[in-house]
């Protein structure tokens, strides 16, 4: 892949030069400055295979009767017989030509204009994708024949330079040849999917960040409500946490994402937002973002509330008593004594919540938000190939594995800091943080934290 820049560019230049020279030879009568017939090839960098071949063919002068045929003769190495109809497209700038019928055979591709004759001088743009790439590099000629059926004449030749594949490209091509590998690990399909998956990755991370950081204050509020001594405050918070933690995220998503549009005032709000509700980023609408933010921040806040509550209650009640006995208010005691200790204790759990929420963004596929999974699913369906899903998994791992390692490390260091001793792993070993929602429970009763 690295070699791509160094080998491909000069070849592409050569190709352009060759095409220009050819066009001079083939169409000497063409007025200078008019677009010359040419062929241009694009390659898939990872495999060095032909991605598309663009041929510009100028219809030669002469009065002809329908049906008229254009035949492109391909070298055998390019296997034009394998072309599917959808891989060949014909258009012209002025849109004067009725699309021809296309048929592919072993020796070439036939374009049959049966409705009308393309006016002479028309520039036909023929794009062919799905051509087989010759195993060895070299210059391969494509010869064009044009004329009434059974009376075609040679009308031009295009030379297609194919670069010699490097070692990596040969290896990747070999992979493409094995059906199973091609199905799951096709280098060319993965390469093609990367830009879209990268878009999806950015969308997922943006959603993750907003929802996570919105969930923190929300969760903290709910946590304090749950620890309140007042029933009227405690009960709603308990119900909130129980309901959200007790229902599948998918159900919450479908309910809120689609249901919120029926909430009175929602559309009025969106109208009022004006341009703030109509922007789009990486194929995701503003209103989609807003709805997703709502669902995910609410969901994560419930889990965070339990993390915060357990964390705060795990601080010995003597800490609060000591702070209060010094005359500090409840808020001061929380802010300067309890929360700083809690943060250290819950940091690993909060980071695994971050990882879990990131993985949960994949569920947004269900409502058509173009995050990683949705992008992968779309490409997978179009290509009839599982490779984009594997690539999508890679995009998730790109974030979860380093973070997971970091969390494991952090836990270790924090336990050293707290106990003054090292080596003792608490609970989940290794990558355990990646598995399942943390159910943070504490045996400390609410009474103790309700101290005033």
């Amino acid at each position: 892949m690295v070699e791509y820049g160094s080998t491909q560019r000069p070849r592409r230049f050569l190709l352009a030069a060759a095409a220009f020279l050819l066009s001079c030879v083939l169409a000497p009568g063409a007025a200078l400055g008019a677009e010359a017939p040419s062929a241009q090839t694009t390659f898939i960098p990872v495999t060095g295979t032909i991605d598309t071949l663009d041929i510009r063919f100028e219809v030669p002068p002469g009065e002809l009767e329908v049906p008229v045929t254009l035949f492109l003769e391909f070298p055998a190495e390019m296997r034009p017989d394998r072309l599917r109809g959808t891989g060949v497209r014909v258009s012209d700038e002025e849109d004067r030509v009725r699309p021809p019928a296309v048929s592919a055979a072993e020796d070439g591709v036939t374009f049959r204009f049966s409705a009308s004759v393309p006016p002479p001088g028309t520039m036909l743009n023929i794009r062919i994708s799905g051509l087989e790439t010759p195993a060895e590099g070299g210059s391969y000629p494509v010869v064009a024949y044009y004329g009434e059926e059974d009376a075609v004449e040679r009308a031009g030749e295009f030379v297609i330079p194919v670069p010699d594949p490097n070692l990596l490209q040969r290896a990747f091509r070999a992979m493409e040849e094995v059906p199973f590998l091609r199905q799951f690990l096709s280098p060319s399909i993965i390469w093609g999917a990367l830009p879209l998956l990268w878009d999806g990755f950015q969308v997922a991370v943006a959603i993750l960040l907003v929802s996570y950081f919105a969930g923190i204050p929300l969760g903290l509020g709910v946590a304090f409500m749950k620890m309140s001594r007042l029933r009227v405050v405690r009960v709603p918070a308990t119900i909130y946490v129980d309901v959200i933690r007790g229902t599948p995220l998918l159900v919450q998503l479908l309910l809120v994402f689609f249901g919120i549009t029926f909430v009175p005032g929602w559309s009025a709000l969106m109208d009022a937002l004006g341009p703030l509700a109509t922007w789009q980023w990486h194929n995701v609408d503003a209103t989609q973002f807003y709805r997703v933010f709502i669902v995910l921040s609410i969901s994560s806040s419930a889990y965070m509330a339990e993390i915060f509550r357990a964390g705060i209650q795990s601080i010995h009640k003597g800490q609060l008593e000591a702070a209060r006995s010094l005359g500090m208010t409840w808020v001061q005691s929380m802010a300067f004594v309890i929360i700083p200790q809690t943060v250290r204790r819950i940091l690993p759990t909060m980071m695994s919540e971050f990882i879990l929420l990131f993985k949960d963004t994949s569920i947004l596929f269900a409502v058509g938000v173009f995050e990683i999974t949705m992008q992968a699913r779309t490409i997978q369906a179009a290509e009839f190939n599982m490779s984009p899903m594997i690539a999508a998994a890679g995009f998730y791992l790109m974030l979860t594995v380093p973070l997971g390692r970091f969390v494991a490390n952090l836990e270790e260091r924090l336990s050293v800091a707290e106990t003054g001793r090292g080596g003792k792993k608490r609970g989940r070993p290794g990558g355990g943080v990646l598995v399942g929602k943390p159910v943070a429970e504490s045996t400390v009763s609410t009474r103790e934290v309700g101290l005033r």
Binding site: A322, L326, L451
Partner: protein, 247 residues
């Protein structure tokens, strides 16, 4: 007892129950300025609860408590103002583990008294020196021995310039060899004229330092008097029994 001296803590008919459990069943007690009162009694006798009611870590369920004339059992009282004048030291030290010794002693000074960093640090260093730990100022609690931690806790309470100090079994969690250093600090405080209410099992300390010894059992004051009176001539059978077991 309080003859001629200003009363600083006044407890009237104090009752406290946890659900069905009656812990304090009518306690009356006056503590004079500069007095050292040592409270003895078997576990569950309510002595710690009594102490904790004085700065309202526990809410009284009946009776009244006045600290320097302010009724703290009144819910309209700003308890934080009262707590500024009532220092407390706990059995489990309760130092803030995320702060250094100096940070522990400075925090409340800055947040409650609003002292400047410089002022708070000056006072903190002075208090740490008073408990003999000036060289440990920048050390975290985890790196200190139990006795040292408890001395930092005392310095922390002292930094608020309390008028009364409550000591709740402050040596009970310490290894025997560390008890003495804490008791020495408390002795010097008593000599300096600090008003102290001390719940302890250290009989020697009670005998040497206390102006008055109180014996509590089952939520009431059973007997009180000078150390000699209580230790050498106990009147109540329960006191005799308790002291007999202690020795």
């Amino acid at each position: 007892m309080t003859l001629g001296r200003e009363t600083i803590v006044s407890i009237r008919g104090l009752q406290k129950s946890f659900d069905d459990l009656e812990v304090l069943r009518g306690v009356d007690l006056d503590v004079a300025k500069g007095e050292v009162v040592v409270i003895l009694g078997p576990s569950g006798s309510g002595k710690s609860t009594l102490l904790r009611c004085v700065n309202r870590l526990e809410e009284a369920t009946g009776g009244q408590i006045f600290v320097e004339g302010v009724e703290i059992t009144d819910h309209k009282t700003d308890i934080n103002k009262v707590r500024e004048r009532v220092g407390m030291v706990f059995q489990s030290f309760n130092l803030f583990p995320h702060l250094t010794a100096l940070g522990n002693v400075m925090l409340a000074q800055r947040k409650v008294h609003g002292r400047s960093r410089r002022e708070a640090e000056r006072i903190a260093r002075e208090r740490l020196e008073r408990v003999g730990l000036s060289e440990k100022a920048d050390v975290f609690p985890i790196q200190l021995s139990g006795g040292q931690q408890q001395r930092v806790a005392i310095a922390r309470a002292l930094a608020m310039d309390p008028h009364v100090m409550l000591f709740d079994e402050v040596t009970s969690a310490l290894d025997p060899e560390l008890v003495r250093e804490v008791l020495e600090v408390m002795k010097s405080l008593a000599k300096g004229g600090m008003t102290m209410m001390v719940v302890t099992h250290e009989m020697g300390f009670a005998r040497d330092v206390a102006d008055r010894v109180i014996f509590m059992d089952e939520g009431i004051i059973v007997e009180q008097g000078s150390p000699e009176e209580v230790f050498d001539h106990p009147r109540s059978e329960r006191t005799k029994d308790f002291l007999g077991h202690i020795r």
